[in-house]
């Protein structure tokens, strides 16, 4: 019996790309379906993620899994080659901690630094610098968050590794710069040059053009969601 694996995603979403990176690292074949989030969510998406109506959603043999971090752990538990999370429970707890820190603190702060205006933007910028500094401290001495190879936290940090550079260029702000964050910037370069990662990141110029053109639509869409 063939295995049926489908990913509902969006080409420009870091959350969606995380899942693709994980599947590619595991060497798992899947069918990809691009969603139109702004105008026309598919019936399939609404059926498979009725609670949040968001991407990414991974559908494995007809059963859906939503929330990118949950999906990543599911992938790791289902396909055991090339583990993403460490085996030791304590190391796993640390990895999960940093993944949560990235999603709850870093991503919203960087996003608002670039997409907001006025005092909200200023406050977000201060926070972004603080959070990235914490992240840099965690990375010191290691090639990747996962050690010698890309792991769970590195994949979750894709927003920092790729999207941050694009967003700050579009917004004309300086957040992730080499003078402030030499370790993080070096990591971002290594991250982007990893063969599996490289093939699974949206092209920089396409992403930049998209954010520039769609800035207003995106800001309105994500108001109160990030």
């Amino acid at each position: 019996m063939g295995e049926e694996l489908k990913l509902l995603g969006v080409w420009g979403s870091p959350f969606s790309r995380r899942v693709e990176i994980a599947l590619k690292i595991k060497g798992v074949e899947y069918e990809y379906s691009e969603e139109d989030l702004f105008h026309n969510k598919s019936a399939l998406l609404l059926e498979y993620n009725p609670v949040h109506k968001k991407i990414p959603v991974l559908v494995h043999n007809g059963k859906p899994i939503a929330e990118s971090l949950v999906i990543l752990e599911y992938i790791d538990e289902t396909w055991k080659d090339s583990p993403l999370l460490p085996q030791d429970p304590y190391e796993r707890a640390i990895a999960r901690f940093w993944a949560k820190f990235l999603d709850e603190k870093c991503v919203p702060a960087v996003w608002k630094s670039c997409m907001s205006v006025g005092p909200e933007r200023e406050k977000a910028q201060e926070e972004a610098l603080e959070f990235l500094s914490t992240l840099e401290g965690e990375l010191k001495g290691k090639k990747f968050f996962g050690g010698e190879t890309v792991g769970f936290v590195d994949i979750v940090a894709n927003f920092v590794g790729h999207w941050t550079g694009v967003l700050q260029e579009m917004a004309g702000v300086d957040i992730l710069t080499e003078d402030k964050f030499p370790v993080l910037c070096k990591w971002a370069e290594e991250f982007q040059n990893c063969p599996v990662i490289k093939e699974n990141l949206p092209p920089r110029d396409k992403l930049l053009a998209f954010f520039k053109a769609q800035r207003e639509t995106i800001t309105n869409f994500y108001k109160n969601k990030v």
């Binding site: 899994i65 599911y74 538990e77 429970p89 304590y90 796993r92 901690f97 820190f101």
Partner: protein, 217 residues
């Protein structure tokens, strides 16, 4: 070698309750240390330098932070014969999804009710509880027959029911009878009964905190 398990906690904390329940479910002896959040201990600041928050689980000197991460750590470290998470990857993913829902939806709604007690906040809270009630269905627990991860993540919120009902003037039993029945079922477990504070004591505490906060403005 003796094991040292310390929980830095604060008795009304929903998140602390989760850790207490999980440890007790596994029969782990632990030293629960009450923190004064207006005067955080050097140990807390050292063990959770990033967030400086409770709860913090310190196992043989090593800290684990964030309640759901803690519950998973507890599940993976102790009592493999009584797992909180199911073994099937899809069921595990489902449990993690719903615990995440509690954090993303129920907790913020609760905070808004306590902060403003407005109609909109109450309605959001009820709506989210109803989604959870829908997921529970006619099962004894969220995972089926066994008390598990999602139950641990949500049951602490029961201790806040009286506070919310009184502040926002509504009856959770009327809105979500199955959920209240589930809560009573969970409370029959020693681990839960020991880990949740008395609802009325909590209400008094919230009232006096609010008074203190508004006096300090």
């Amino acid at each position: 070698m003796a094991e040292e398990v310390i929980l830095l906690d604060f008795w009304p904390s929903l998140f602390g309750m989760r850790a207490r329940i999980a440890l007790r479910e596994k029969g782990v002896e632990f030293d629960m240390r009450e923190e004064d959040l207006s005067n955080k201990s050097p140990l807390l600041l050292k063990m959770n330098p990033v967030h400086k928050k409770i709860p913090v689980l310190i196992h043989n000197g090593k800290p684990v932070c964030e309640s759901l991460i803690m519950v998973q750590y507890i599940d993976e470290t102790w009592g493999p014969e009584s797992p909180l998470l199911p073994s099937d990857p899809h069921e595990r993913a489902r449990a993690k999804f719903w615990a995440d829902y509690v954090d993303k939806k129920i907790y913020p709604a609760l905070r808004t009710i306590v902060g403003e007690a407005k109609e909109a906040a109450k309605n959001e809270y009820i709506e989210c509880l109803k989604v959870l009630e829908g997921e529970l269905g006619d099962k004894a627990y969220f995972g089926g027959e066994r008390f598990g991860y999602v139950d641990v993540s949500l049951i602490p919120f029961y201790s806040w029911f009286y506070t919310l009902e009184t502040l926002a003037n509504f009856s959770i039993r009327e809105e979500c009878p199955k959920l209240v029945a589930w809560a009573k079922r969970c409370l029959q477990r020693e681990s839960v009964a020991k880990s949740l504070p008395d609802q009325y004591k909590l209400y008094d505490f919230i009232l006096s905190s609010r008074r203190r906060i508004s006096l300090n403005k």
